[in-house]
Amino acid sequence: MIELSDITKTYGEGQEAYTALKGISFTIREGEFVSIMGPSGSGKSTLMHIIGCLDTPSSGTYVLEDRDVSTMTDDELAEVRKDKIGFVFQAFNLLPRTTVLRNVMLPLVYANVPEEERERRARAALVSAGLSEDHFSHLSNQLSGGQIQRVAIARALVNDPALILADEPTGNLDSKTSLVVLGTLQKLNRAHGRTIVLITHEPDIAEHADRLIRLRDGRVVADEKNPTPRDATQETKLYDGTDESVTNKLS
């Protein structure tokens, strides 16, 4: 579904030029849960921007669902993002002073989905992301960090995208809440067959995925199956002082 061949990305020109990606090639099939890992500055976000069609590579080709997106214009890329990709960012995922429902419906607004259908789909996505109904009409600034990330996951889901891209989605969360968010992603992958690319610099977060791609200095240094992915739901249960309400929502 995703085919990257010899992707490079160079920022700046001449003396100032900095090559953040130095020839990246790999393939991700539908239904995979892949983690892209690497230390800070290794080019993870740069790669994610290219996979997410937020940016185009300096050279190389990127084929997403049989379409070459590496040479598309801004507006063509916007169309691809709208239809194919759902994003979960580390921070600033939601519009401030806007309700949870409205936030989740936003991609549908840009996709010209009829108004009657938007709310139904947004509610369904929020349920899949494990947010309880009481929070649907809360304003985004009334939510906790974990809830915000789950709303963001719901928004990433609502358009029924081919791919969910999460860039350090647990970067701002404590470890217990991180597990809840990881559990949500795992459930979406296992139970609903969603293709998920998780970007992180933390090995214990990355180990929840079925496949690990390691980056260093803009190159892939390892690409291997994870024979024993960690199970976030189990870990949450084992967590000291288990929060019943959290586990209930996940099961």
Binding site: L54, D74, A78, D83, F87, T98, Y110, E115
Partner: protein
């Protein structure tokens, strides 16, 4: 994105920072309100002036003795000071084609007295046709007629100011017909009181006394001094005024034996010229007012631009997020443009209401009857929407052109 979504988004964005939106709107309100109020005042002044010129009479030409004078400027010999127009000139003018009415005037200031009061004012000897030529209407009694003039009767028609000067403030509500007044010590009988015309400008007749022209020439002008101070002519139609003016000029030149028109011993004032001169002055005045108001509107527009640019910077991450989840350039552009247009449209609506109110206040002071025209309201709306588009265009374009990655990264 439907129109409904756009309205929702715009409302949410503008209400997020109410004080800032309010102040920005205020700039437009002031601009639009001043455009409406000042053009209303200009339009009102224009109407007042042209009404007062029209109240002089219709299709009016005035022949005056003395050399031609420039309208509004130049030295003037004063009405009636030169002696060149005679009663026989008046009779000759009546024969010119398209002249419907003619009245000579002999005017001078005299002391008017009744028992216990007196006043000094213009006494004007005229023919019966003068009432029609100069649009005079009567509050009491009737105007003069030509029989009274021929038989040199000592009768008088008075203006309302004269009446109140002589008999006190409530005089016009009592019957004055038949009362006696002394003009320069001669006893006259009041046969009519004219309706108040109001205004103080162009030839108000409220402070005048009219007597028969024959009587005036007989008793006041004196032997060997039978000259007129003005001849009023009513042309048959507005189209014939120029022809009448030319024919009367030619007639009088030949009657006075003058071959060089620049040496004419009389001048003709054409009401039409007066109207167009006055309206060109007032429309310049209106344009000037509108220009001043327009400047404040531009300042308001700059306020919009300033706010929108601040908005784009502040909402950089929001723009990045919207782009990441599928907003196109056009979506972002439309959204920011809609915000700017909404600001100016709200400002325009309040401004029109405020300008309207201000016009009412000005009218209430009585200085001028301000007139809000539907064109100026439509124009104000059009201009405010245009300002929204013009001043919102650049910030909206900046927002739309943002790279989603840079926008998301922005701290």
């Amino acid at each position: 994105m439907t129109t409904n979504d756009l309205v929702d988004e715009t409302y949410a964005a503008l209400s997020a920072n109410k004080v800032r939106s309010g102040l920005t709107i205020l700039g437009i309100v002031i601009g639009i309100a001043s455009v409406i109020a000042l053009t209303a005042i200009g339009q009102g002044a224009q109407n007042t002036i042209s009404n007062s010129i029209n109240s002089l009479g219709s299709n009016l030409l005035e022949v005056m003795p003395g050399a031609a004078r420039t309208f509004g400027f130049g030295a003037s010999g004063g009405r009636g000071s030169a002696k060149s127009l005679t009663p026989s000139d008046e009779i000759a003018i009546a024969g010119v084609s398209n002249v419907s009415l003619v009245s000579g005037e002999y005017a001078a200031r005299y002391q008017i007295a009744v028992a216990g009061a007196n006043t000094n004012t213009t006494v004007d000897g005229v023919n019966g046709s003068y009432a029609t030529i100069r649009n005079i209407t009567m509050a009491q009694g009737s105007f003069l007629n030509d029989v009274e003039s021929q038989s040199l009767q000592k009768v008088a028609v008075i203006g309302s100011t004269v009446a109140t000067d002589l008999w006190g403030p409530n005089a016009t509500s009592t019957n004055l017909v038949g009362d006696k007044i002394r003009i320069n010590n001669l006893l006259f009988t009041v046969i009519g009181l004219m309706s108040t015309k109001g205004g103080s400008g162009f030839g108000s007749q409220d402070n005048e006394v009219f007597i028969p022209l024959g009587t005036a020439l007989q008793y006041f002008a004196g032997e060997g001094n039978q000259y007129l101070s003005t001849i009023d002519i009513q042309a048959a139609s507005q189209q014939s005024m120029t022809q009448v003016q030319n024919d009367v000029t030619a007639l009088l030149l030949s009657r006075h034996g003058i071959s060089d028109p620049t040496k004419a011993d009389f001048s003709i004032l054409n009401q039409q010229d007066l109207v167009s001169a006055a309206s060109s002055v007032t429309s310049t005045f209106t344009t000037l007012l509108a220009a001043v108001a327009g400047i404040s509107l531009i300042v308001g527009g700059i306020g919009i631009m300033n706010m929108m640019l601040t908005n784009v910077t502040e909402r950089m991450r929001e723009i990045g997020l919207r782009k990441a989840i599928g907003a196109t350039r056009a979506d972002i552009n439309t959204q920011f443009l809609a915000e700017a247009v909404a600001l100016t449209f709200i400002g325009g609506t309040i401004g029109v209401a405020l300008g309207w109110g201000a016009s009412y206040l000005v009218t209430a002071t009585g200085v001028v009857t301000a007139q809000v025209t539907s064109q100026s309201v439509l124009l104000a709306f059009g201009v405010s929407a245009a300002i929204g588009i013009v001043f919102g265009w650049y910030p909206a374009r900046r927002a739309a052109a943002l790279n989603p990655i840079d926008a998301l990264r922005y701290e």
